[in-house]
Symmetry: C2
Subunit: 242 residues, 2 copies
Protein backbone atom coordinates (compact mmCIF):
# COMPACT_ATOMS: atom_id res chain seq x y z
CA UNK A 1 0.00 0.00 0.00
CA UNK A 2 1.38 3.40 -0.91
CA UNK A 3 -1.15 5.43 1.04
CA UNK A 4 0.29 7.65 3.79
CA UNK A 5 0.28 6.07 7.25
CA UNK A 6 -0.81 7.43 10.60
CA UNK A 7 -0.88 6.56 14.27
CA UNK A 8 -3.11 7.84 17.03
CA UNK A 9 -2.01 8.59 20.58
CA UNK A 10 -4.86 8.90 23.08
CA UNK A 11 -3.77 10.56 26.32
CA UNK A 12 -5.86 10.06 29.42
CA UNK A 13 -6.03 8.15 32.70
CA UNK A 14 -9.81 8.14 32.40
CA UNK A 15 -9.79 5.70 29.46
CA UNK A 16 -7.36 3.29 31.13
CA UNK A 17 -9.27 3.30 34.41
CA UNK A 18 -12.50 2.38 32.62
CA UNK A 19 -14.23 5.62 33.66
CA UNK A 20 -14.64 6.80 30.08
CA UNK A 21 -15.03 5.05 26.76
CA UNK A 22 -12.88 6.63 24.07
CA UNK A 23 -14.76 7.61 20.93
CA UNK A 24 -12.16 9.72 19.15
CA UNK A 25 -10.26 6.70 17.83
CA UNK A 26 -13.30 5.40 16.00
CA UNK A 27 -14.02 8.82 14.50
CA UNK A 28 -10.40 9.32 13.41
CA UNK A 29 -10.25 5.82 11.90
CA UNK A 30 -13.32 6.45 9.72
CA UNK A 31 -12.17 9.91 8.62
CA UNK A 32 -8.63 8.79 7.76
CA UNK A 33 -9.90 5.78 5.82
CA UNK A 34 -12.16 8.06 3.77
CA UNK A 35 -9.24 10.44 3.19
CA UNK A 36 -6.91 7.66 2.00
CA UNK A 37 -4.60 7.69 5.03
CA UNK A 38 -4.04 4.29 6.63
CA UNK A 39 -4.31 4.27 10.43
CA UNK A 40 -1.68 1.67 11.28
CA UNK A 41 -1.51 1.81 15.07
CA UNK A 42 -3.18 3.41 18.06
CA UNK A 43 -1.95 3.78 21.61
CA UNK A 44 -3.53 4.88 24.83
CA UNK A 45 -1.25 6.13 27.59
CA UNK A 46 -1.84 7.73 30.99
CA UNK A 47 -1.33 11.40 31.90
CA UNK A 48 2.36 10.68 32.42
CA UNK A 49 5.06 12.91 30.93
CA UNK A 50 7.63 10.19 30.24
CA UNK A 51 5.03 7.82 28.76
CA UNK A 52 3.75 10.50 26.36
CA UNK A 53 7.24 11.56 25.24
CA UNK A 54 8.35 7.99 24.66
CA UNK A 55 5.22 6.99 22.71
CA UNK A 56 5.40 10.16 20.59
CA UNK A 57 9.01 9.62 19.64
CA UNK A 58 8.37 6.02 18.66
CA UNK A 59 5.25 6.79 16.62
CA UNK A 60 6.40 9.94 14.82
CA UNK A 61 9.50 8.12 13.57
CA UNK A 62 7.49 5.20 12.18
CA UNK A 63 4.45 6.84 10.61
CA UNK A 64 3.73 9.77 8.30
CA UNK A 65 1.37 11.42 10.80
CA UNK A 66 0.61 11.19 14.50
CA UNK A 67 -2.71 12.48 15.85
CA UNK A 68 -3.04 12.98 19.60
CA UNK A 69 -6.20 13.52 21.64
CA UNK A 70 -6.48 14.78 25.19
CA UNK A 71 -4.46 16.63 27.79
CA UNK A 72 -4.57 20.20 26.43
CA UNK A 73 -7.01 21.74 28.91
CA UNK A 74 -6.35 24.12 31.84
CA UNK A 75 -5.78 21.67 34.72
CA UNK A 76 -2.64 20.27 36.37
CA UNK A 77 -2.95 16.96 34.55
CA UNK A 78 -3.07 18.59 31.08
CA UNK A 79 0.56 18.00 30.14
CA UNK A 80 0.39 17.08 26.46
CA UNK A 81 1.77 20.34 25.02
CA UNK A 82 4.87 20.20 27.22
CA UNK A 83 5.45 16.53 26.41
CA UNK A 84 5.14 17.23 22.67
CA UNK A 85 7.60 20.13 22.97
CA UNK A 86 10.11 17.90 24.74
CA UNK A 87 9.70 15.06 22.25
CA UNK A 88 10.32 17.44 19.35
CA UNK A 89 13.05 19.44 21.05
CA UNK A 90 11.03 22.66 20.75
CA UNK A 91 10.84 25.60 23.17
CA UNK A 92 7.46 26.13 24.77
CA UNK A 93 5.80 29.14 26.38
CA UNK A 94 2.67 31.28 26.25
CA UNK A 95 2.36 32.44 22.67
CA UNK A 96 0.84 35.80 21.74
CA UNK A 97 -1.29 34.39 18.93
CA UNK A 98 -2.84 31.75 21.19
CA UNK A 99 -3.28 34.25 24.04
CA UNK A 100 -5.14 36.61 21.69
CA UNK A 101 -7.59 33.84 20.75
CA UNK A 102 -8.30 33.15 24.42
CA UNK A 103 -8.62 36.86 25.27
CA UNK A 104 -11.23 37.39 22.57
CA UNK A 105 -13.17 34.31 23.69
CA UNK A 106 -13.18 35.11 27.41
CA UNK A 107 -14.00 38.79 26.83
CA UNK A 108 -16.97 37.70 24.76
CA UNK A 109 -18.17 35.18 27.36
CA UNK A 110 -17.49 37.46 30.32
CA UNK A 111 -15.26 34.92 32.06
CA UNK A 112 -11.84 35.65 33.52
CA UNK A 113 -8.72 34.64 31.60
CA UNK A 114 -7.03 33.38 34.77
CA UNK A 115 -3.65 31.66 35.16
CA UNK A 116 -5.11 28.18 34.62
CA UNK A 117 -6.87 29.16 31.39
CA UNK A 118 -3.76 30.98 30.20
CA UNK A 119 -1.90 27.64 30.33
CA UNK A 120 -3.90 26.72 27.22
CA UNK A 121 -1.86 29.34 25.32
CA UNK A 122 1.33 27.34 25.99
CA UNK A 123 2.24 26.25 22.47
CA UNK A 124 5.61 25.00 21.18
CA UNK A 125 7.59 27.46 19.05
CA UNK A 126 7.25 26.67 15.35
CA UNK A 127 3.87 24.96 15.71
CA UNK A 128 0.90 26.12 13.64
CA UNK A 129 -2.38 26.53 15.53
CA UNK A 130 -5.46 24.38 14.92
CA UNK A 131 -8.72 26.30 15.18
CA UNK A 132 -11.12 25.43 18.01
CA UNK A 133 -14.53 26.86 17.07
CA UNK A 134 -16.14 25.59 20.29
CA UNK A 135 -14.03 26.80 23.21
CA UNK A 136 -11.23 28.79 21.52
CA UNK A 137 -8.22 27.05 23.12
CA UNK A 138 -6.31 25.93 20.05
CA UNK A 139 -4.70 22.64 19.10
CA UNK A 140 -1.50 22.69 17.09
CA UNK A 141 0.55 20.87 14.45
CA UNK A 142 4.32 20.59 14.77
CA UNK A 143 6.41 18.41 12.51
CA UNK A 144 4.18 15.44 11.71
CA UNK A 145 2.33 15.59 15.05
CA UNK A 146 -1.20 17.00 15.27
CA UNK A 147 -2.28 17.80 18.82
CA UNK A 148 -6.02 17.94 19.44
CA UNK A 149 -8.49 18.10 22.33
CA UNK A 150 -10.04 15.05 23.97
CA UNK A 151 -13.60 16.40 24.15
CA UNK A 152 -15.19 14.62 21.16
CA UNK A 153 -16.99 17.66 19.67
CA UNK A 154 -13.76 19.68 19.75
CA UNK A 155 -11.62 16.77 18.51
CA UNK A 156 -13.94 16.37 15.54
CA UNK A 157 -13.92 20.08 14.73
CA UNK A 158 -10.12 20.22 14.91
CA UNK A 159 -9.72 17.14 12.72
CA UNK A 160 -12.08 18.66 10.17
CA UNK A 161 -9.80 21.67 9.87
CA UNK A 162 -6.53 19.67 9.76
CA UNK A 163 -7.44 16.83 7.41
CA UNK A 164 -8.04 18.77 4.17
CA UNK A 165 -4.46 20.06 4.37
CA UNK A 166 -2.92 16.58 4.47
CA UNK A 167 -2.11 14.63 1.31
CA UNK A 168 -4.28 11.54 1.08
CA UNK A 169 -3.92 8.45 -1.03
CA UNK A 170 -6.59 6.52 -2.86
CA UNK A 171 -9.69 6.23 -0.71
CA UNK A 172 -10.08 2.77 0.78
CA UNK A 173 -13.19 1.08 -0.57
CA UNK A 174 -14.95 -1.85 1.00
CA UNK A 175 -17.75 -4.26 0.30
CA UNK A 176 -19.25 -6.69 2.74
CA UNK A 177 -21.66 -9.59 2.78
CA UNK A 178 -23.31 -11.45 5.65
CA UNK A 179 -23.54 -15.23 5.35
CA UNK A 180 -25.32 -17.72 7.59
CA UNK A 181 -22.27 -19.91 7.95
CA UNK A 182 -19.71 -20.20 10.68
CA UNK A 183 -16.31 -18.63 10.20
CA UNK A 184 -14.72 -22.10 10.25
CA UNK A 185 -16.73 -23.16 7.22
CA UNK A 186 -15.79 -20.26 4.97
CA UNK A 187 -12.20 -19.94 6.19
CA UNK A 188 -10.79 -22.31 3.56
CA UNK A 189 -12.27 -20.64 0.44
CA UNK A 190 -11.67 -17.20 1.92
CA UNK A 191 -7.98 -17.97 2.42
CA UNK A 192 -7.68 -19.12 -1.22
CA UNK A 193 -9.35 -15.94 -2.41
CA UNK A 194 -7.04 -13.78 -0.27
CA UNK A 195 -4.04 -15.53 -1.83
CA UNK A 196 -5.41 -14.81 -5.33
CA UNK A 197 -6.02 -11.12 -4.55
CA UNK A 198 -2.94 -10.03 -2.58
CA UNK A 199 -3.77 -6.36 -3.28
CA UNK A 200 -7.05 -6.64 -1.33
CA UNK A 201 -7.71 -7.15 2.35
CA UNK A 202 -10.15 -9.88 3.43
CA UNK A 203 -11.66 -9.86 6.90
CA UNK A 204 -14.25 -12.15 8.45
CA UNK A 205 -16.22 -11.31 11.57
CA UNK A 206 -18.34 -13.95 13.28
CA UNK A 207 -21.68 -12.89 14.72
CA UNK A 208 -24.46 -14.42 16.78
CA UNK A 209 -28.01 -13.05 16.43
CA UNK A 210 -30.89 -14.62 18.30
CA UNK A 211 -28.88 -17.81 18.63
CA UNK A 212 -28.08 -18.03 14.91
CA UNK A 213 -24.40 -18.01 13.94
CA UNK A 214 -23.05 -16.29 10.85
CA UNK A 215 -20.11 -14.38 9.47
CA UNK A 216 -19.66 -10.98 7.91
CA UNK A 217 -17.04 -10.98 5.17
CA UNK A 218 -15.42 -7.65 4.34
CA UNK A 219 -13.25 -7.07 1.28
CA UNK A 220 -11.18 -3.88 1.20
CA UNK A 221 -8.99 -2.20 -1.40
CA UNK A 222 -8.50 0.91 -3.50
CA UNK A 223 -9.40 -0.53 -6.94
CA UNK A 224 -13.17 -0.75 -7.43
CA UNK A 225 -12.94 -3.18 -10.37
CA UNK A 226 -10.70 -5.60 -8.45
CA UNK A 227 -13.08 -5.38 -5.52
CA UNK A 228 -16.06 -6.21 -7.74
CA UNK A 229 -14.18 -9.16 -9.25
CA UNK A 230 -13.31 -10.58 -5.85
CA UNK A 231 -16.89 -10.21 -4.63
CA UNK A 232 -18.24 -12.12 -7.65
CA UNK A 233 -15.78 -14.97 -6.99
CA UNK A 234 -16.61 -14.89 -3.29
CA UNK A 235 -20.35 -15.20 -3.95
CA UNK A 236 -19.75 -18.09 -6.35
CA UNK A 237 -17.67 -19.89 -3.74
CA UNK A 238 -20.38 -19.43 -1.14
CA UNK A 239 -23.23 -20.61 -3.40
CA UNK A 240 -25.44 -23.09 -1.53
CA UNK A 241 -24.30 -26.64 -2.06
CA UNK A 242 -20.67 -25.71 -2.64
Amino acid sequence: MTNPTAAMLVIGDEILSGRTRDSNLHHLAKELTAHGIRLAEARIVADDHAAIVSALNDLRARFDHVFTSGGIGPTHDDITADAVAEALGAEIGIRDDARALLQTHYQRTGLELNAARLRMARIPQGASLIDNPISAAPGFSIGNVHVMAGVPAIFQAMLASVLPGLAGGDAMLSQSVDVHRGEGEIAGPLGELAARYPDLGFGSYPWIRDGVHGTQIVVRGTDAARLDGAMVKLMAMLEPGK
Copy 2:
Protein backbone atom coordinates in the same frame (compact mmCIF):
# COMPACT_ATOMS: atom_id res chain seq x y z
CA MET B 1 1.51 2.80 43.28
CA THR B 2 2.51 -0.74 44.12
CA ASN B 3 -0.39 -2.41 42.34
CA PRO B 4 0.56 -4.80 39.52
CA THR B 5 0.55 -3.21 36.07
CA ALA B 6 -0.93 -4.40 32.79
CA ALA B 7 -1.10 -3.51 29.13
CA MET B 8 -3.67 -4.45 26.53
CA LEU B 9 -2.89 -5.34 22.92
CA VAL B 10 -5.91 -5.23 20.61
CA ILE B 11 -5.25 -7.00 17.31
CA GLY B 12 -7.46 -6.21 14.34
CA ASP B 13 -7.59 -4.29 11.08
CA GLU B 14 -11.29 -3.76 11.61
CA ILE B 15 -10.75 -1.37 14.55
CA LEU B 16 -8.11 0.69 12.71
CA SER B 17 -10.21 0.98 9.55
CA GLY B 18 -13.16 2.31 11.53
CA ARG B 19 -15.39 -0.63 10.62
CA THR B 20 -15.73 -1.77 14.23
CA ARG B 21 -15.68 -0.01 17.55
CA ASP B 22 -13.60 -1.88 20.12
CA SER B 23 -15.39 -2.61 23.38
CA ASN B 24 -12.99 -5.07 25.00
CA LEU B 25 -10.62 -2.35 26.19
CA HIS B 26 -13.34 -0.64 28.20
CA HIS B 27 -14.42 -3.94 29.74
CA LEU B 28 -10.85 -4.93 30.61
CA ALA B 29 -10.13 -1.49 32.09
CA LYS B 30 -13.10 -1.71 34.44
CA GLU B 31 -12.37 -5.30 35.49
CA LEU B 32 -8.67 -4.68 36.12
CA THR B 33 -9.39 -1.53 38.13
CA ALA B 34 -11.81 -3.49 40.31
CA HIS B 35 -9.20 -6.25 40.74
CA GLY B 36 -6.44 -3.81 41.76
CA ILE B 37 -4.36 -4.15 38.60
CA ARG B 38 -3.45 -0.86 36.94
CA LEU B 39 -3.95 -0.78 33.17
CA ALA B 40 -1.03 1.44 32.16
CA GLU B 41 -1.14 1.29 28.36
CA ALA B 42 -3.19 -0.05 25.48
CA ARG B 43 -2.25 -0.58 21.87
CA ILE B 44 -4.16 -1.42 18.76
CA VAL B 45 -2.25 -2.97 15.86
CA ALA B 46 -3.26 -4.45 12.51
CA ASP B 47 -3.32 -8.17 11.58
CA ASP B 48 0.39 -7.96 10.83
CA HIS B 49 2.84 -10.54 12.16
CA ALA B 50 5.80 -8.19 12.68
CA ALA B 51 3.65 -5.50 14.30
CA ILE B 52 2.17 -7.99 16.78
CA VAL B 53 5.55 -9.53 17.69
CA SER B 54 7.16 -6.13 18.18
CA ALA B 55 4.34 -4.73 20.33
CA LEU B 56 4.21 -7.91 22.44
CA ASN B 57 7.92 -7.86 23.15
CA ASP B 58 7.83 -4.22 24.16
CA LEU B 59 4.77 -4.56 26.40
CA ARG B 60 5.60 -7.86 28.13
CA ALA B 61 8.99 -6.47 29.18
CA ARG B 62 7.49 -3.32 30.69
CA PHE B 63 4.35 -4.53 32.45
CA ASP B 64 3.40 -7.35 34.81
CA HIS B 65 0.68 -8.64 32.48
CA VAL B 66 -0.28 -8.30 28.83
CA PHE B 67 -3.82 -9.10 27.69
CA THR B 68 -4.46 -9.55 23.98
CA SER B 69 -7.78 -9.65 22.15
CA GLY B 70 -8.46 -10.83 18.62
CA GLY B 71 -6.87 -12.93 15.90
CA ILE B 72 -7.37 -16.45 17.29
CA GLY B 73 -10.16 -17.64 14.95
CA PRO B 74 -10.02 -20.06 12.00
CA THR B 75 -9.29 -17.70 9.09
CA HIS B 76 -6.11 -16.76 7.23
CA ASP B 77 -5.84 -13.42 9.06
CA ASP B 78 -5.96 -15.04 12.52
CA ILE B 79 -2.25 -14.96 13.26
CA THR B 80 -2.05 -14.04 16.92
CA ALA B 81 -1.05 -17.48 18.27
CA ASP B 82 1.90 -17.74 15.88
CA ALA B 83 3.01 -14.19 16.66
CA VAL B 84 2.86 -14.85 20.41
CA ALA B 85 4.86 -18.06 19.96
CA GLU B 86 7.54 -16.20 18.03
CA ALA B 87 7.69 -13.34 20.53
CA LEU B 88 8.15 -15.79 23.39
CA GLY B 89 10.47 -18.14 21.53
CA ALA B 90 8.05 -21.07 21.99
CA GLU B 91 7.32 -23.94 19.60
CA ILE B 92 3.79 -23.99 18.22
CA GLY B 93 1.64 -26.71 16.71
CA ILE B 94 -1.74 -28.41 17.05
CA ARG B 95 -1.96 -29.53 20.65
CA ASP B 96 -3.87 -32.66 21.68
CA ASP B 97 -5.60 -30.99 24.62
CA ALA B 98 -6.91 -28.15 22.45
CA ARG B 99 -7.88 -30.56 19.64
CA ALA B 100 -9.88 -32.64 22.12
CA LEU B 101 -11.86 -29.56 23.19
CA LEU B 102 -12.70 -28.77 19.58
CA GLN B 103 -13.59 -32.40 18.77
CA THR B 104 -16.07 -32.58 21.63
CA HIS B 105 -17.63 -29.26 20.62
CA TYR B 106 -17.99 -30.04 16.92
CA GLN B 107 -19.28 -33.56 17.57
CA ARG B 108 -21.93 -32.08 19.81
CA THR B 109 -22.94 -29.41 17.27
CA GLY B 110 -22.76 -31.76 14.28
CA LEU B 111 -20.31 -29.53 12.40
CA GLU B 112 -17.13 -30.72 10.73
CA LEU B 113 -13.79 -30.15 12.44
CA ASN B 114 -12.14 -29.12 9.18
CA ALA B 115 -8.59 -27.89 8.57
CA ALA B 116 -9.53 -24.24 9.18
CA ARG B 117 -11.19 -24.99 12.51
CA LEU B 118 -8.29 -27.22 13.52
CA ARG B 119 -6.00 -24.18 13.26
CA MET B 120 -7.67 -23.00 16.47
CA ALA B 121 -5.88 -25.88 18.26
CA ARG B 122 -2.50 -24.33 17.38
CA ILE B 123 -1.24 -23.40 20.84
CA PRO B 124 2.34 -22.64 21.90
CA GLN B 125 4.11 -25.35 23.92
CA GLY B 126 4.11 -24.55 27.62
CA ALA B 127 0.98 -22.38 27.45
CA SER B 128 -1.98 -23.12 29.71
CA LEU B 129 -5.39 -23.07 28.06
CA ILE B 130 -8.11 -20.53 28.85
CA ASP B 131 -11.60 -21.98 28.80
CA ASN B 132 -14.03 -20.77 26.12
CA PRO B 133 -17.54 -21.72 27.29
CA ILE B 134 -19.17 -20.25 24.17
CA SER B 135 -17.43 -21.72 21.12
CA ALA B 136 -14.83 -24.08 22.67
CA ALA B 137 -11.72 -22.75 20.84
CA PRO B 138 -9.47 -21.90 23.79
CA GLY B 139 -7.38 -18.88 24.61
CA PHE B 140 -4.10 -19.38 26.42
CA SER B 141 -1.66 -17.88 28.91
CA ILE B 142 2.08 -18.12 28.37
CA GLY B 143 4.60 -16.24 30.46
CA ASN B 144 2.84 -13.02 31.41
CA VAL B 145 0.79 -12.89 28.19
CA HIS B 146 -2.90 -13.80 28.19
CA VAL B 147 -4.31 -14.42 24.72
CA MET B 148 -8.06 -14.04 24.33
CA ALA B 149 -10.70 -13.85 21.62
CA GLY B 150 -11.94 -10.59 20.06
CA VAL B 151 -15.65 -11.46 20.12
CA PRO B 152 -16.79 -9.49 23.19
CA ALA B 153 -18.88 -12.25 24.79
CA ILE B 154 -15.96 -14.69 24.53
CA PHE B 155 -13.38 -12.12 25.63
CA GLN B 156 -15.44 -11.42 28.74
CA ALA B 157 -15.88 -15.10 29.56
CA MET B 158 -12.14 -15.76 29.13
CA LEU B 159 -11.20 -12.78 31.29
CA ALA B 160 -13.58 -13.98 33.99
CA SER B 161 -11.71 -17.27 34.15
CA VAL B 162 -8.20 -15.74 34.05
CA LEU B 163 -8.57 -12.80 36.43
CA PRO B 164 -9.23 -14.65 39.71
CA GLY B 165 -5.87 -16.43 39.28
CA LEU B 166 -3.88 -13.20 39.09
CA ALA B 167 -2.61 -11.40 42.18
CA GLY B 168 -4.33 -8.03 42.52
CA GLY B 169 -3.42 -5.02 44.60
CA ASP B 170 -5.68 -2.75 46.57
CA ALA B 171 -8.85 -2.03 44.64
CA MET B 172 -8.85 1.47 43.15
CA LEU B 173 -11.62 3.55 44.71
CA SER B 174 -13.05 6.71 43.23
CA GLN B 175 -15.44 9.49 44.11
CA SER B 176 -16.76 12.11 41.78
CA VAL B 177 -18.73 15.33 41.85
CA ASP B 178 -20.29 17.41 39.09
CA VAL B 179 -19.96 21.19 39.39
CA HIS B 180 -21.54 23.90 37.25
CA ARG B 181 -18.23 25.66 36.68
CA GLY B 182 -15.83 25.58 33.80
CA GLU B 183 -12.66 23.55 34.09
CA GLY B 184 -10.62 26.75 33.89
CA GLU B 185 -12.26 28.09 37.03
CA ILE B 186 -11.58 25.08 39.24
CA ALA B 187 -8.16 24.28 37.78
CA GLY B 188 -6.26 26.41 40.31
CA PRO B 189 -7.76 24.96 43.52
CA LEU B 190 -7.74 21.46 42.02
CA GLY B 191 -4.03 21.70 41.28
CA GLU B 192 -3.32 22.79 44.87
CA LEU B 193 -5.35 19.86 46.20
CA ALA B 194 -3.50 17.43 43.92
CA ALA B 195 -0.20 18.73 45.28
CA ARG B 196 -1.42 18.18 48.88
CA TYR B 197 -2.58 14.64 48.14
CA PRO B 198 0.17 13.14 45.98
CA ASP B 199 -1.10 9.60 46.75
CA LEU B 200 -4.44 10.34 45.03
CA GLY B 201 -5.27 10.93 41.38
CA PHE B 202 -7.35 13.98 40.46
CA GLY B 203 -9.07 14.20 37.11
CA SER B 204 -11.41 16.84 35.70
CA TYR B 205 -13.68 16.30 32.72
CA PRO B 206 -15.52 19.22 31.16
CA TRP B 207 -19.07 18.63 29.94
CA ILE B 208 -21.73 20.54 28.05
CA ARG B 209 -25.40 19.67 28.64
CA ASP B 210 -28.14 21.66 26.94
CA GLY B 211 -25.73 24.53 26.45
CA VAL B 212 -24.67 24.62 30.12
CA HIS B 213 -20.97 24.07 30.86
CA GLY B 214 -19.68 22.18 33.86
CA THR B 215 -16.94 19.86 35.05
CA GLN B 216 -16.90 16.43 36.59
CA ILE B 217 -14.12 16.07 39.16
CA VAL B 218 -12.93 12.53 39.90
CA VAL B 219 -10.67 11.63 42.81
CA ARG B 220 -9.06 8.20 42.77
CA GLY B 221 -6.96 6.22 45.23
CA THR B 222 -6.77 3.08 47.33
CA ASP B 223 -7.23 4.60 50.79
CA ALA B 224 -10.89 5.35 51.53
CA ALA B 225 -10.14 7.71 54.43
CA ARG B 226 -7.71 9.80 52.36
CA LEU B 227 -10.30 9.92 49.60
CA ASP B 228 -12.97 11.16 52.00
CA GLY B 229 -10.61 13.80 53.37
CA ALA B 230 -9.78 15.10 49.91
CA MET B 231 -13.45 15.24 48.94
CA VAL B 232 -14.32 17.31 52.02
CA LYS B 233 -11.53 19.78 51.20
CA LEU B 234 -12.61 19.84 47.58
CA MET B 235 -16.21 20.68 48.46
CA ALA B 236 -15.06 23.44 50.80
CA MET B 237 -12.92 24.94 48.04
CA LEU B 238 -15.84 24.88 45.64
CA GLU B 239 -18.33 26.43 48.07
CA PRO B 240 -20.32 29.18 46.35
CA GLY B 241 -18.66 32.55 46.79
CA LYS B 242 -15.18 31.14 47.11
